[in-house]
């Protein structure tokens, strides 16, 4: 889903950033949020809901709805839409219990 060419915007090839999502290695680009990096790889689903086990992904895209909440090792709960990816980050759909360190 990454835009290859555009009539008005400059599309600059950015360097790769490798990270983990649910134990899978994903390659995004520098400047991506977790949400855009996953979306560019065709992955829209970020988590399952607590009550009905339904899939959720980004909805508002600007950090208001918290539907894109996932867990970052070393941090805890983060919002995929406003979390910039960095090399080596490990994200999970579920809280694994010891995520803050």
């Amino acid at each position: 889903m990454r835009i290859q060419k555009h009539p008005v915007m400059k599309i600059i090839e950015k360097e790769d950033v490798e990270f983990i999502f649910n134990d899978t290695k994903i390659i995004g680009k520098k400047g991506d949020s977790l949400a855009s990096a996953l979306w560019a790889n065709g992955m829209k689903t970020l988590r399952q809901t607590e009550k009905e086990n339904n899939s959720r992904g980004i909805y508002c895209g600007i950090g208001n709805c918290y539907d894109c909440r996932v867990y970052l090792q070393g941090s805890g709960m983060v919002r995929a839409c406003i979390t910039p990816i960095k090399s080596g980050m490990e994200f999970y759909s579920e809280d694994r219990g010891d995520m803050s360190s």
């Binding site: 835009i3 983060v78 406003i82 910039p84």
Partner: protein, 406 residues
């Protein structure tokens, strides 16, 4: 950390206010929960209807940021303000709720420029991955340069949805069409094609180009709108080669785990479904329910509010110089009513100068404030984008409510 002024929100209003205050010699901090400043500017990419130039928001944001930094303005990104106390104290944390080295900021004045939030437009299937708000689609497409889908539909016909549908098409998505919002208890005016066309015809600034595309003078009368809605081409009318379906709406979004298709229906001129529904295979749905001011911190700060439909929701009650009912608390931008980036910028300048006068920073007098307030009006009159046909009368009502405040 102590400052003269703390500004929450580093979008166009916050940036312009910060620059105005710093230029006069004030010590300013801007706080934003996003990784970059610029707010909605970063996703904006559209052709200006009046002159055909391209508005590239991210370039404007970058310029403003450089100017802010050169003036010594402190910028804290990835930082959220979770509470405020008069006096002023701002309680901050990192964007994910974790502590920072400094968990509190003190300032003599506070400006809230927190912008807008999208109003939800619920329908069956709206929580499936692949369903985005139109603002979310804008950010993904223009800011991150990732298209929302290969085959996309847009729900809701308005200034934003048209602009972002075009942006997605330019990004290489097949935008199947733009459809009227579904008729339910949350969509009164916008799910009725006749009322919708009528509201467009009173948004005179946006009128020229949209009118020409939608058939011009026919829309200028109520009869004209009924006729237009009645005879509107059943296959839609194309704008920028994207079909706008005034006589079709959506009933549901379908898919097991993610968006797979939508159930569409033809509708009569008042929005009621007619005939058999049909499926369209898509992989993304972008919903435009309108914008609403984001006013939570203002509520915590204790100021009074006003609900006015022309402002698109509930805003802090404020005077013509952006001061609220709480001493030292000011507002600017979409939090004061939805009007877009150009008006937000002019309000930022006004709020900045108003704060300067309040704190005796620089040499601001009543004449300066009057001029800046007049400039906001001028920008409002000449701006190409209007979000509500009643914005002018709403602003007048707001001023009257200020004068008679509780």
């Amino acid at each position: 950390m102590k400052f003269d002024v703390a500004i929450v929100g580093a979008g166009p209003a916050g940036l312009k206010a910060a620059i105005e205050i710093a230029r006069a010699g004030g010590n300013v901090v801007m706080i934003d929960d996003h990784p970059h400043v610029g707010g909605k500017l970063n996703g904006q990419l559209h052709e200006e209807p009046n002159n055909g130039d391209w508005w590239i928001g991210v370039s404007i944001a970058e310029q403003l940021k450089q100017e802010a930094l050169s003036l010594g303005i402190t910028i804290l990104t990835g930082t959220q303000v979770w509470s405020v106390e008069e006096g002023w104290k701002l309680f901050i944390s990192n964007v994910d709720g974790r502590p920072l080295d400094n968990n509190m900021i003190e300032s003599k004045a506070l400006l809230l420029a927190t912008g807008a939030i999208e109003k939800p437009l619920p329908l069956p299937g709206w929580t499936l991955p692949g369903v985005l708000t139109i603002g979310g689609a804008q950010v993904l497409t223009n800011q991150y340069q990732v298209k929302p889908g290969n085959r996309v539909i847009v729900v809701g016909v308005d200034i934003l949805s048209l602009s972002i549908a075009r942006a997605m098409k330019m990004a290489g998505a097949d935008v199947v069409g733009i459809y009227i919002a579904p008729k339910n208890e949350f969509t009164s005016g916008i799910s009725n094609p006749k009322e919708l066309l009528s509201s467009f015809s009173s948004m005179t600034k946006f009128a020229p180009n949209l009118f020409m595309r939608l058939g011009g003078n026919v829309l200028k009368s109520a009869i004209g709108c009924s006729l237009a809605a009645l005879f509107y081409p059943k296959n839609g009318m194309k704008v920028w080669d994207i079909p706008i379906h005034f006589r079709q709406s959506i009933l549901a979004i379908n898919g097991e785990q993610e968006v797979e298709s939508v159930t569409l229906t033809k509708i009569d001129p008042t929005g009621n479904a007619i005939g058999e529904s049909f499926l369209e295979k898509v992989d993304a749905v972008c919903i435009s329910g309108g914008l609403s001011p984001q006013n939570e911190l203002a509520a915590v700060a204790g100021c009074e509010f006003v609900r006015l439909n022309g402002l698109s929701g509930v805003v802090p009650l404020h005077d013509q110089y952006m001061q609220t009912t709480v001493e030292g608390l000011f507002v600017a931008g979409n939090i004061t009513g939805i009007e877009g980036a150009k008006v937000a910028s002019a309000q930022g300048v006004l709020a900045g100068s108003s704060i300067n006068k309040y704190l005796s920073i620089g040499n601001v007098n009543e004449g300066n404030l009057e001029r800046n307030a007049k400039q906001v009006e001028i920008v409002r009159e000449t701006a190409d984008i209007t979000f509500h046909s009643e914005i002018g009368s709403a602003r007048n009502k707001l001023q009257k409510l200020w004068e008679h405040r509780i």
